[in-house]
């Protein structure tokens, strides 16, 4: 037996090697691939960078060579003129780029403001007496008493105003350079005055300020490199791999060779694997060629690296980086291949390519987000987590638990996408080849259990993106409306409509008997207590940063909310609509695929993941699992809605009323467990037989 299986393994390896040989041979013989994927980037990137530098240098030279014309106006133009001339006569300070020698020429004009607007002048210097200045400010203040009070504190000295046009580079440069000189003149005059009045030391020595950058050069460069490395790599992989991927399946379809290949003894998985290896190989080769290319240009001195740019990568960092980039290349190549598999022709592939490019570039630039840390929900977003992890590694931070999680998440995404590609090779609609089961054949409600997780994945990503972009700007009320009514409820309705589901069945809209409601009244506060205990246990494993806890509390209980609003937005609405999404649509979708215990745990875990904040996952997952059990046992969603709303109310209302409840003592957790047990005993006694049987029998 053993011999047979090992010879079978050798056969499979032979098939894979033959397929890979074919891919590489086809690739190397395609002149377009070589030109577009290798030669063009080799020439374009340096050409682009050189062109950019030439443009910016030319611009700089133009600004330096230009003659800046200014006019002087105002009640005491003569005073202003002498001031300006004195300022221009100052020798340029070396360390200030705003004070480089500049050609200023005065032009005498009757209506300088209109000349400035017409672009004939770059700058207007206006001398204003204190009274004029004050009159103008008062008109602006429009009775704002605080602003008027500040005006009273102004010293009665004249003002100089520089007018310029910010849409003209020349004009704004003129303003900033003139401004810098006038400011220095002011400082020198003040110093002179102080010395004349007998200040015993140089006024410049009065308060020394020195900037001291303690970051080693490598870390500084690491921080910069960490931000650009991932997007750069993604861009190179995508642009290089894409040419290969386009040819890989959609090209074969267009030429009709895929059918020939599918009737050979090669497995579909082997065909996909060979193609994916080819894409990864080419992607890596192109990335290496480009980096080497860049290095050559640096060594030749075509580009200069920024000052203090020293990258020292320790061996550990190098290994970690390679390990992080492995799933990244996997997910990119698999996505490109899937794209190729789902498009019938090159043209179709090209149409899809651009959105996919954006889909990767945005998350790959996640490291640029201000204040982002790997130890946050970003760890659950494939590609984006790699980007953040790479930056942390390059500045020398190793959060091993989360690095592992990052690797696992993106690797899982890569494997999932590969599987999709294998399926694409057998999707009848596209290629007249199939491994469809009955559900896919019939469509409609039968397809729903297979697709429900995909839908919730999309909902999670939507939620995550909205919270990243809008989280800070939306108030809590709007956020509830967007997240709960928009994403959860809207998504649920969309799913129900798409698969033509029966709302009453899916959402378990059934009446229950009175004892069930009593069980909920006992169970909700008890479960809350148990949840708090669990959160404390979780805290031992994954400590919650103190500042995060505080800001979260403040954030939820915004002071401008009235109590009824707290109850409506944070208890009632989540109670109703989160239940519809999670214990309604999600639960019934997973029901045919999982046994009851696993069903509750999975539903709970997904519910936990939807509370983006990583530190809320444990308590919310616990609540989610309990609520799923409530729905399964009672056969109705209504008790879960009440339970959920009560839970939120118990959690928030005391805090809102600023009732300082001391840390619950240990015995209270015991009480919680007892209450929870009692509640479930009641639920079980009055359980709905039909609902439980329906769940198991329906599968």
């Amino acid at each position: 037996m053993r011999e047979a299986s090992s010879s079978n393994g050798a056969r499979r390896r032979r098939v894979l090697a033959t397929l890979l040989g074919l891919e590489l041979r086809l690739l190397l013989r395609d002149k377009r691939t070589i030109i577009i994927a290798v030669l063009l980037p080799l020439l374009i990137y340096p050409a682009f960078i050189l062109a950019m530098r030439a443009v910016s240098r030319a611009g700089q030279e133009r600004l330096e060579a230009a003659t800046y014309e200014y006019a002087i106006t105002g009640s005491e133009a003569e005073l202003a003129r002498s001031l300006v001339q004195e300022a221009l006569a100052l020798s340029a300070a070396e360390d200030d780029s705003a004070e480089v020698p500049t050609n200023f020429v005065e032009r005498v004009a009757d209506a300088p403001d209109s000349l400035l607007r017409a672009g004939e002048l770059q700058l207007v210097v206006e001398w204003m007496s204190h009274e004029e200045y004050r009159a103008e400010r008062e008109a602006e203040a429009e009775g704002d008493t605080a602003a008027l009070r500040r005006l009273d504190e102004l010293a009665a000295v004249p003002a100089v105003r520089l007018s310029f046009r910010s849409n003209s580079e020349l004009s704004s440069t003129a303003a900033s350079r003139m401004g810098a000189r006038l400011r220095r003149l002011r400082v020198e005059r003040r110093d002179r005055l102080l010395r004349e009045r007998g200040l015993p030391l140089d006024p410049g020595e009065l308060a020394k300020l020195e900037l001291n950058n303690v970051a080693p050069a490598e870390k500084e460069a690491g921080a910069v490199l960490g931000m650009i490395l991932t997007p750069l790599l993604v861009l190179l992989m995508l642009s290089g791999g894409s040419v290969v991927a386009a040819d890989a399946i959609s090209g074969e379809k267009e030429r009709g060779t895929i059918e020939t290949l599918l009737t050979t003894a090669a497995r579909r998985g082997e065909i996909v694997a060979a193609k994916q290896l080819a894409i990864i190989g080419v992607g890596i080769a192109i990335a290496v060629i480009n980096v080497a290319n860049l290095l050559v240009y640096v060594v030749l001195g075509v580009f200069e690296l920024p000052e203090r740019f020293a990258v020292s990568v320790e061996p550990v960092a190098l290994i970690v980086l390679l390990l992080l980039f492995l799933p990244l290349t996997g997910v990119i190549s698999a996505t490109l291949l899937a794209l190729s598999g789902y498009s019938k022709t090159y043209r179709e592939y090209q149409i899809y390519f651009f959105p996919v490019l954006l889909l990767f570039l945005f998350p790959s630039a996640a490291a640029v987000l201000p204040g982002i840390e790997l130890r946050s929900a970003i760890v659950l977003v494939p590609v984006a987590n790699i980007s953040v992890a790479v930056r942390e590694v390059l500045v020398g931070t190793y959060d091993w638990l989360f690095l592992g999680l990052t690797f696992a998440v993106t690797m899982a995404a890569a494997l999932y996408t590969s599987r999709l590609t294998s399926l694409a090779l057998s999707t009848e609609r596209l290629i007249t080849a199939a491994e469809l089961d009955r559900a896919e054949l019939i469509g409609g409600p039968a397809l729903f259990p297979k697709r429900v997780l995909r839908w919730f994945g999309i909902m999670w990503v939507t939620l995550f993106i909205t919270s990243l972009w809008l989280g800070a700007t939306l108030g809590i009320r709007l956020q509830v409306v967007v997240n709960i009514l928009g994403i959860f409820f809207g998504g649920s309705l969309l799913i129900i409509w798409r698969y033509r589901l029966q709302p009453r069945e899916v959402l378990a809209l059934r009446p229950v008997r009175l004892p069930v409601w009593i069980a909920v009244l006992i169970g909700a506060p008890s479960a809350y207590l148990v949840g708090v205990g669990l959160a404390r246990l979780a805290d031992l494993i994954l400590p919650v940063p103190e500042r995060m806890l505080e800001s979260f509390g403040e954030y939820l209980i915004a002071p401008e909310l009235a109590l009824w609003q707290v109850i409506l937005f944070l208890a009632v609405i989540p109670g109703i609509f989160e239940e519809i999404a999670f214990r309604g649509v999600l639960l019934s979708g997973l029901r045919k695929r999982l046994r009851p215990v696993a069903l509750c745990l999975v539903t709970g875990a997904i519910f936990g993941l939807f509370h983006i904040d990583l530190f809320r996952i444990v308590p919310t997952a616990f609540l989610g699992a309990i609520l799923a059990a409530v729905v399964l046992i009672s056969g109705s969603i209504f008790p879960a809605m009440l339970w959920h709303a009560l839970n939120n109310a118990v959690a928030l209302v005391p805090a809102y009323l600023e009732l300082r409840i001391a840390e619950p003592p240990l015995w209270s957790f015991g009480l919680g467990v007892l209450g929870l047990a009692l509640a479930f005993w009641i639920l079980w006694r009055y359980r709905s037989r039909a609902a439980l049987a329906g769940g198991d029998g329906g599968g």
């Binding site: 080849a433 491994e435 054949l441």
Partner: protein, 263 residues
């Protein structure tokens, strides 16, 4: 009587189409084929010929029924089943950037023809199909007739016992179509099991040892041409075909079964 190399029982394929709903492209068909015979599937476009053959080639997965190639179930052991099979159709193209020799080598290897014999096999095929002159040229440079020869050689590269030709003469001129028929007969005489599909009556008449008339996913009759003549009392295959297909059309729901006298 030799054992059947191809055995098909109750094979069916249902598609789901947004517009038309469930479409039964193949609706429960049975047939057997044996070495040294050409079995013809005769039917109009859309009758279910290509769907049937694609199920045999494991490109499509049957909705119901069983098909075995050399005893290998196409659903249970698709890879083993495909190894026994050479599949040729108007849509099975060649890689333009490979040379003829590379093409033959690739298909022999990927179908697990013993490595040490690959070179000898390719040499044999080159000689047999007369492609020596252009064996080093890339396929994209070849004429239609040359490509056809390479394509047939590709189909038999791994020396499979079963060959499927799905409308192989579509788009060929008379000379090339005749050449195709000649090669198929030769292969039959070497003992291959050949399944040949066509919608052209004269082709089926001249080439096939047995003919199955397929219509709307069902096999209406399956026998030797002579037996079909006896059963219908008509001489020309065209008339026999219309007799069966027209008969169904006149009496919806009624399917005429033909006796398998030749078996």
């Amino acid at each position: 009587m030799t054992e059947p190399t191809v055995a098909v029982r109750g094979l069916a394929k249902t598609f789901y189409d947004e517009a038309r709903g469930e479409v039964r492209a193949v609706d429960g068909i049975d047939f057997d084929c044996r070495p040294g015979e050409i079995f013809g599937l005769l039917g109009a476009n859309g009758a279910g010929k290509t769907t049937t053959l694609r199920m045999l080639a494991t490109i499509l997965r049957p909705t119901a029924g069983v098909a075995r190639l050399m005893g290998r179930d196409v659903v249970e052991e698709p890879v083993a089943a495909r190894r026994t099979l050479g599949f040729y159709s108007a849509t099975t193209a060649l890689y333009p950037r490979l040379t003829a020799r590379e093409t033959l080598e690739f298909f022999a290897r990927v179908n697990l023809y013993p490595e040490e014999k690959v070179d000898a096999r390719v040499d044999y095929l080159v000689g047999r199909f007369g492609i020596a002159e252009y064996v080093g040229a890339r396929v994209e440079k070849l004429s239609t007739g040359m490509k056809q020869k390479v394509s047939i050689a590709r189909t038999v590269a791994h020396d499979p016992p079963i060959l499927i030709f799905d409308e192989p003469t579509v788009g060929l001129d008379v000379i090339n179509a005749l050449e195709m028929a000649r090669v198929i007969r030769e292969l039959r005489d070497e003992g291959k099991t050949i399944i040949f599909s066509t919608h052209i009556m004269s082709e089926a008449e001249k080439l096939c040892d047995r003919i199955a008339i397929i219509h709307n996913g069902k096999i209406l009759a399956s026998d030797t041409l002579d037996a079909l003549r006896v059963a219908t009392g008509r001489h020309y295959l065209e008339d026999i075909f219309v007799d069966y297909v027209g008969g169904v059309e006149e009496m919806p729901g009624f399917i005429r079964e033909s006796g398998s006298a030749a078996e």
